[in-house]
Structure formats: structure tokens, C-alpha cells
Amino acid sequence: MLLALTAAGIVIVALLWEVCWPTVSEAIERHRARRARVPTFDYDPGRERRAEQRARELLRSCVNDEEWEMYRDLGFIRVWGTIADGPERGAARDPLAGAPYAYLIYPHKPIVAFLPQTRRLLNEYCVEFPDETRPYGSARLPDSDDVLAKWMALTGDERRLIAESNMHLPGRQVDPRQVQRDLWRLSEWERQRAARERRQGSVSTP
């Protein structure tokens, strides 16, 4: 009799287990899921601003005073070209080969090559520095870091950067009228800066 009752009890428990276990298991999983720490990237509106601020400080510490003030006041940096024959212009024999040339570095825009004497635009060099680790889901560097990356790559190994970039005629992405305006702003800025330095020099010199 006792044996029969025990067997019946075991069978009942086993059946109940079969019936109840999925529900119990689901409840446990739900409880665990509620308590689990899920990594989230909450949007922080100040994050980009702080990153840009740090990037500006880094840029400032790398470039010279003139370049930093140019970027601060005008939003771009001019870098002089160093290749003797000048950047490639598509022609086999370019009459302008050897003329001094320079680049304008804008944040997140192509690098624009131009001839300072005539303000003639030569090429656009499309180049990016994507950070594929994407710590916040984006590969886009802060503006000033993008400028610094271009500046370092251009002053460190101009040929390599030009080779890595995609060359286009002026006007593909950057409005040539905007560049012409920027070149005019740059010349005015340099004129005022030189005048200011002359004044400071005459004041400090007795």
C-alpha cells in the first residue's frame, strides 16, 4: 500500500513538473532579464561638444599660431604644398608645374588645392579618416580631429595622402564660389594680421 502511494506520488510530481516547468522557467528567465544590466549608449548631448573641445585643444597644440588662428577665425587651414612639380593636374605637360601651390583643409570636406598667386582652383582631394571602432556607433571624427588628421597626413607625407585620396575637378563637392570667398577672406585676414603685428612691433620697439 505504501509502495503504491509512493509511486503514485512520484508520478504526480513528475506530471506536475512537466506541466509547470515551462511556466516556471519562463518566469525565471523574465526575472533574470529584468535584473540584467544591459549596456546602453544613452545620448549625451554634451559628449560631442566636449570631444570637439578636446580635439580643438589637441589641434592647437600641434599646428603653429598662424594656422591655429586661421582655423579659429576662418574655419579652415592653409597648408603649403611641397611637391616640386606641384600636384597632378591631369595634363602631361603642365605650364604651371613648379608654381607654388597650397591646400585648404576644411573639416569633413575634400581638401582643395589651389594656386595662391592667381587663386585658381586645381583639384579636390576627397579623403576620409573613418574610425571603424565606432565607439558610439559613428565613424565620424570630431571636426577638429578631422582637420588635424588631414594636416598631419599632408605635412607628414603629402604624396601618400594624395595617393590615398580620390581626386576630382574643383566644384564636385565644395562650391568654387565659396572657396573663392574663403581665399579672399584669407587674404584680408592675413593683411589685418600683418598690420596688427606691425602695430604691436612698433609699440614694443621704442
Binding site: R47, E48, R50, A51, E52, Q53, R54, A55, E57, L58, S61, C62, V63, N64, E67, P110, C126, V127, E128, F129, P130, D131, E132, T133, R134, P135, Y136, S138, A139, R140, L141, P142, S144, D145, L148, A149, W151, M152, A153, T155, G156, D157, R160, L161, E164, S165, N166
Partner: protein, 77 residues
Amino acid sequence: MKPGHGEVLLAEGDVEVPEQERELIEAFREQLDQGMWAAVPTASRGGRREAQLVRDFGEVPRDAERVIFFPKAAGGR
């Protein structure tokens, strides 16, 4: 340089101290293995600032204050 970070200190140390130099070399190689470019900001005699791209830790000037890593250039659209 990282999106949203601006500037990140990866490692610091004195190259004259062998143990610290090893750590710097490891950090340097790790960054290059991740496909980053490395540059040392320098100042020429004329006061002109420029960067020196380096591909090996041995190319880093011994008196360099810092090496900046930045993502490799890729042709844009």
C-alpha cells in the same frame, strides 16, 4: 582620436626606462595593428610646424613628447 572622444591617452612613459619603453612599444604596435596611422608633431628650425609619419617605433624621435594615432586615410566620395 575617436568619434565622441576627441583625444584619448593610450599610454605614457619614459623611453629611457626599459619597462616603460616596452609598454609604449606594445601600445604603439597595437594601434598600428588596428590599422591606425601614427604621427609625431614636430617643429622645424624655421618655426614651421609639421608632422612626421612613423611606421615603426624605432622611427619615433627619442625626444618626442607624444605620438598621435589617427585612422588610416581612405578615399572619400
